[in-house]
């Protein structure tokens, strides 16, 4: 029991420190406002750091969304970027002057609906598949949706869509994205502690056992898929107006697709704060790796290496690593290695 207690107190300590850090980081950008200037407060954060923070918040939404399907329900989807793209295009079409010409708020509100509907529709056949078949079918769906979008003129065809540009709105988009991130974490937290959450975890642990105790596995899986789609679509919607440009490569990028998965897994799939931690660690690594000039190629090789290291050494994620003192020991590491080798 001793290890568990330490682990418990260690965990709470970490969470408090983590929470404080997040609050501080979120308040710092306020120093960049005119009001702060008039109060003589020093500007702590510059434009590029705000941009990085907004990206971090965006990935928290996507990683938490993926976590509902991949982490909680155990269905490792390889195509959630489709929801991001659909959300982005929905919002872009909604606010486009030549199309629906709706205010930005309406665009962002619509962004989660189309992907959620699409997820429910596509989810029924897809979620009957398992393992490799499910992963590749979702990857295929994401690629196919991207291709369809590229070939439809109403959706801007190959050139893409251009939502109206908002000047000096960095802080607006930062706090919009942070709001979405908080929503994602809160929704995940609520689900985790509910009948719906326990049902999803039961499906992950053993779907047949879950069905014979009365879990409607199809409905629960499609539900998780749709919630993940809505959250990811919301991030896409905000991204479209923030970036004021969206096309197939940006909306359906395989980079985003793999990064949201790696962040959730690296942080700790199936946990509440795992994905958030994973986003921060990975974004920190990627920013520094790519920071060295335009050599994005080395960043990609770094990402590839990180994927391999995570899968082999930290399969259950960083959060689990601090779960209990025993986890930190080398013996645990060696056993993990021995188990996965042939």
């Amino acid at each position: 029991m001793q290890a568990r207690l330490n682990g418990g107190r260690l965990r709470r300590l970490l969470l408090i420190v983590f929470g404080l850090a997040v609050v501080l980081v979120l308040l710092a950008p306020l120093t960049a406002t005119d009001q702060a200037d008039s109060l003589g407060l020093p500007q702590l954060v510059d434009r590029s750091q705000i941009r990085i923070l907004t990206t971090v918040a965006m990935f928290v939404v996507m990683a938490s969304g993926w976590n509902l399907v991949g982490g909680l329900t155990g269905y490792g989807s390889f195509g959630n970027v489709a929801f991001f793209g659909l959300g982005a295009y929905t919002c872009a079409v909604a606010v486009d002057v030549h199309r629906l010409h709706l205010p930005m708020g309406a665009g962002i509100a619509l962004a989660p609906l189309v992907p959620a509907l699409f997820a429910a529709l596509v989810g029924l056949p897809l979620l009957r598949l398992r393992g490799h078949y499910f992963a590749i079918a979702t990857l295929g769906t994401a690629v196919a949706v991207g291709e369809v979008v590229k070939n439809v003129d109403y959706l801007g065809g190959a050139t893409g869509l251009f939502p109206p540009i908002l000047h000096r709105a960095d802080l607006l988009f930062l706090y919009l994205m942070v709001g979405a991130a908080m929503l994602a974490v809160i929704v995940s937290g609520l689900i985790l502690r509910s009948r719906f959450g326990y049902g999803l975890i039961a499906i992950r642990e053993n779907e047949e056992a879950a069905s014979v105790i009365g879990v409607n596995t199809t409905a629960y899986k499609v539900g998780a898929f749709a919630v993940a789609a809505a959250l990811t679509g919301l991030a896409g919607g905000i991204f479209a107006v923030w970036n004021s440009f969206i096309n197939q490569d940006l909306g359906f990028s395989l980079d985003f697709n793999i990064q949201m998965i790696l962040m959730a897994v690296l942080g700790g799939a199936g946990t509440l704060f795992g994905p958030v931690l994973g986003v921060i660690v990975l974004e920190f690594l990627l920013q520094n790796l790519a920071g060295r000039g335009d050599v994005a190629v080395y960043a990609q090789i770094g990402l590839g290496l990180l994927l391999a290291v995570t899968v082999i050494f930290v399969p259950r994620g960083i959060v689990d690593f601090f779960g209990g003192a025993s986890r930190l020991s080398l013996a645990h590491l060696r056993r993990a290695l021995r188990e996965t080798g042939a």
């Binding site: 078949y133 070939n151 391999a308 399969p315």
Partner: protein
């Protein structure tokens, strides 16, 4: 009618390429139960090796195929032993993440070595072909189909006619029972992955003769290999051959015969086909229930 016949021929010829690409992919998935997301990268690595031998050493692409095969065999054996073997017993999802990581490393290593501008292998005969009843048949593509058929026959012979092949099939049927008759699992896994990498290399060599290549050109080939294997059904070489040819036909005819679908729809067709096959007949045209 002329156009249709021409498209059927072109469909079969490109189908040969898909067979060559899918052979290795099917082996790794069928035997090691790993979907290798780096397969396309291995194919393109083979293509670049062929280009290197052609551009710098003036070796004819079809003659360099054995060299490419040996090189990729060695690389595949080492890659499996060092990395892939670590996740053999891990949950499926982690094998996907690992092979995607390997894919990123290979593609970007190629980018560092060869930059991203297009390369192509154009031997003297690459443009010519012959006409039969009004249908044009380019030599290079016909030769590629021939090599693909030979490759399929070779893999079939290895699996069904050799001692190593029966060991590989034994491992696929029951891993522990295979160990109980004395099969060294690590060696057989690495050997299987090496043969698959060699097939990918040969497929890459063929591809370099019919299209320009860049380091990132591998991605679609991985996904298409998956569709071909699912279409044909996992398990037997014959199933992959059928899957590859049918896929070649559906893709080519889909792009030219169906109104409104142009060249840009290749991937969309592929994945519509995939989702339909997965839901309607998951074990594929020729295979057994997975």
């Amino acid at each position: 009618m002329q156009l249709f016949l021409q498209q059927v021929v072109l469909g079969l010829l490109i189908g040969g390429i898909y067979v060559a690409v899918a052979l290795g992919f099917s082996l790794v998935w069928g035997i090691l139960n790993i979907v290798n997301l780096a397969h396309g990268a291995l194919v393109i690595a083979g293509a670049y090796l062929t280009w290197l031998l052609f551009a710098h050493a003036h070796v004819d692409p079809f003659l360099s195929l054995p060299i490419v095969a040996v090189a990729l065999f060695a690389f595949g054996y080492a890659l499996q032993r060092v990395l892939i073997n670590r996740v053999i017993r891990a949950p499926l999802f982690f094998t996907l993440l690992l092979t995607f990581g390997v894919n990123l490393m290979i593609v970007n290593a190629l980018l560092v070595l060869f930059k991203s501008d297009f390369r192509s292998v154009t031997p003297s005969y690459s443009g010519s072909g012959f006409g039969v009843a009004g249908v044009q048949v380019p030599y290079v593509r016909l030769a590629a189909l021939g090599v693909a058929a030979a490759l399929a026959a070779a893999v079939g012979w290895l699996l069904n006619r050799t001692r190593t092949g029966s060991a590989i099939q034994a491992v696929a049927a029951d891993r522990d029972a295979a160990r109980l008759v004395g099969v060294d699992l690590r060696h057989v896994y690495a050997l299987t992955f090496a043969v698959a990498a060699a097939c990918a290399g040969v497929a890459g060599g063929l591809i370099s003769t019919i299209q320009a290549i860049t380091p990132t050109a591998g991605e679609p080939y991985t996904l298409q290999a998956f569709v071909v294997v699912v279409l044909g059904g996992l398990g037997r070489v014959g199933a992959t051959v059928v899957g590859g040819l049918v896929f070649g036909l559906v893709e080519t005819l889909g792009q030219t015969m169906v109104p409104g679908l142009g060249a840009g729809w290749a991937n969309a067709i592929a994945f519509a086909l995939l989702v339909v096959v997965l839901v309607v007949r998951p074990q594929g045209l020729m295979g057994r229930r997975p």
